[in-house]
Symmetry: C2
Subunit: 400 residues, 2 copies
């Protein structure tokens, strides 16, 4: 076997990959000297790997009311493991015995119905990979004092495979009356969180979900039943679903008046702006990470849109002066997280990294200035502007 | 609000869904009387839900050598949660510190190289959803004494999103010599499990994987590095990868001579039959489950093929006399699990449920008799015949 030529190797590999610490020799590292560990019914991460975790933010003194954020900077691909899916609770996480739980459908229907979770499971099922995102994700960036990491700024979004029954199937059972225009969905949590949803979306792709990534919903995701309203702000995907009231007008519930409505420049509130428009963010390198000297780095991140499919993602390494198209992980799915990948040769100087996406309707993610010019400085929810990460010559990465 | 008409409801719903126990009333179940639980950094299933688990089979007195099987009958959709991915170990589960681990690439290359896991992470990444299946899955069915549940008979298959570096990228770094025809991949487990892989597949879609479903590989899945050879028998996707030896002929290792080769009718062994051909199985209803009286049931299961995409799945409820096409969960991905769904109105009489799939090349899953006529009765590995579940009038479901 040919002996390694260390100088030549360094030259070639450095050009392609920026690696400077490879070595080579004739023998691999030693194999394990003894039999390994036993098998386990339910696997766990390696003890050598720092387990990615959600970061919890309590909004009240009583614990459980607030949010926890997905560690986007630590994750690969597009599937969020269920234990790391973001949470947003308004009265903590209920513990519901499915044998005691029911879902009532009433109001403008031919026949009011109740279903146990077991009965919902009997209907024809539907599974699909979707993103879910809190309407309030990224509001810190609008406020002009963005959090230091992508988990803190953008972590109220996740992507998983959901399973349930199309809401249209259940509504067909109850029989919608002609005047039916809205459905008010109510949860069984202590706050009885309620949202109004237009009937068209209920009959389109909305699910009564009971499964996530193959398993039953976790309690914090609405066990045993939740709504899943694809592409719309997460708050309407009501968890611990106990009631669907069919009516001809919205409820004007606290969560669609005092919250989850955007303040317009004219001082009025924009209500029922449900769709999460196209957005993207670089997750690596991102705030709090550091680069180990000049050379090759892959810039990667996530993009998604409630309007359908992402058509393209562009990356800039000079603060938006020039852009180049990133590669998208295939397949690009409707209303799902899309991973983008862009090769970057860092020269070791200060750099500002940005991503911007365009959806299949032609809509392009705005800059922060463009967003504020359109929506005003206090719009709050549904902020989706381009995010910048500042790479300093010392390799540190900070928000701008 | 109109009062429920229980008789009419039962008639309608029973016709559509076979439900007999729905009730209806004007009020939903009570909401939670107090604030719910706190948030957790890493979520867990509901205590009310029986956690699906892998079933472990030890092959030797020393624990850790054998297999654990995915609970296919309990899972929804197509994504297997990482802690439930099947395992097959030949010397237990190594505990590898990535700071001490290296991967050596040598043999017929211009420059032998070693990489630390951190260095592998620096290359451009690739993520894709693939199935992985042990070449020995379903061998009990060939033997004529099939196990009682689908977990026991078919549970050596799972589907997850894998992330890693294309092996072609790493081989380009080392520089393949013209005579290079095979790569012998060796693990760092105590058995130093080794398999030979044709160079064409190594340059096609084979990955050096380090991520699964967003997180780092679990130890039992090869942490910190493994091969992932899409569509081929799982044994070649060598875990705990420590060496890739490039050569002009296969190693004829114990795992490709004494094992993972099929005995042909002429008494010779068929070697290097890597591809997992098209197969399907009904996971619900399946052995050990029971039906609660006549009415509507959704028949559902999984189909997959190492040859590419599944084109269609058909279901029979009369033991193969008549067939009807099932619905396929979208999107149908290349070399990935596909969920099929078929609505069934059970009349309460004995029934034999079967599924058969056809891949995009036109190949159709054979019956057991067809398979034995072609491959003989002792072929062992790569068994992919149609599976039958016998539903008795009492609602019990058994293997046939």
């Amino acid at each position: 076997m040919r002996k390694p030529d260390r100088r030549r190797f360094l030259t070639t590999t450095a050009a392609i990959a920026g690696l400077t610490s490879c070595s080579s020799k004739d023998q691999p590292p030693a194999a394990q000297a003894s039999l390994g560990a036993h098998m386990r019914p339910y696997g766990e991460p390696s003890p050598y790997e720092q387990q990615p975790v959600r970061v919890i933010r309590e909004l009240t003194a009583s614990k459980g009311t607030g949010s926890s954020r997905t560690p986007l900077q630590d994750l690969y691909g597009t599937i969020t493991p269920s234990p790391l899916h973001y949470e947003r609770h308004h009265a903590g996480v209920p513990s519901i015995d499915p044998a005691q739980h029911q879902l009532l459908i009433h109001g403008m229907v031919d026949k009011p119905l109740t279903f146990t979770p077991a009965e919902i499971h009997r209907f024809p099922s539907f599974s699909r990979i979707y993103f879910l995102e809190c309407g309030g994700n990224m509001v810190g960036d609008l406020a002009g004092n963005p959090p230091p990491t992508v988990q803190a700024s953008h972590g109220l979004v996740s992507g998983t495979e959901w399973t349930g029954v199309p809401l249209a199937t259940i509504l067909r059972e109850a029989g919608l009356q002609p005047e039916a225009k809205w459905i008010i969905a109510e949860g069984a949590d202590h706050s009885r969180m309620a949202r109004s949803i237009p009937i068209e979306k209920c009959l389109d792709d909305t699910l009564i979900a009971y499964g996530q990534n193959g398993e039953a919903l976790r309690p914090e995701q609405g066990y045993p039943l939740r709504l899943l309203v694809p592409g719309w702000e997460g708050n309407v995907s009501v968890k611990w679903l106990r009631r669907l009231f069919v009516t001809d007008k919205p409820a004007m519930s606290v969560k669609e008046t005092a919250y989850y409505s955007e303040l317009r420049p004219d001082g009025k509130a924009e209500q029922f702006s449900f769709v999460m428009e196209a957005r993207s963010v670089i997750t690596k390198p991102s705030g709090g990470q550091s680069l180990q000297g000049p050379g090759f780095y892959e810039i990667t991140g996530l993009s998604w849109t409630g309007t359908g499919k992402i058509a393209k993602v562009e990356v800039s390494t000079d603060g938006g002066k020039s852009w180049a198209e990133a590669k998208l992980q295939q397949p690009v799915l409707d209303k799902a997280l899309v991973r983008f990948l862009y090769p970057w040769q860092w020269d070791g100087k200060d750099a500002v990294l940005q991503s911007r996406c365009t959806d299949e309707t032609g809509y392009t993610q705005p800059t922060r200035d463009q967003l504020i010019a359109t929506r005003g400085p206090h719009s709050g929810y549904h902020y989706n502007a381009i995010k910048s990460w500042y790479v300093r010559a010392d390799g540190s990465v900070k928000h701008v």
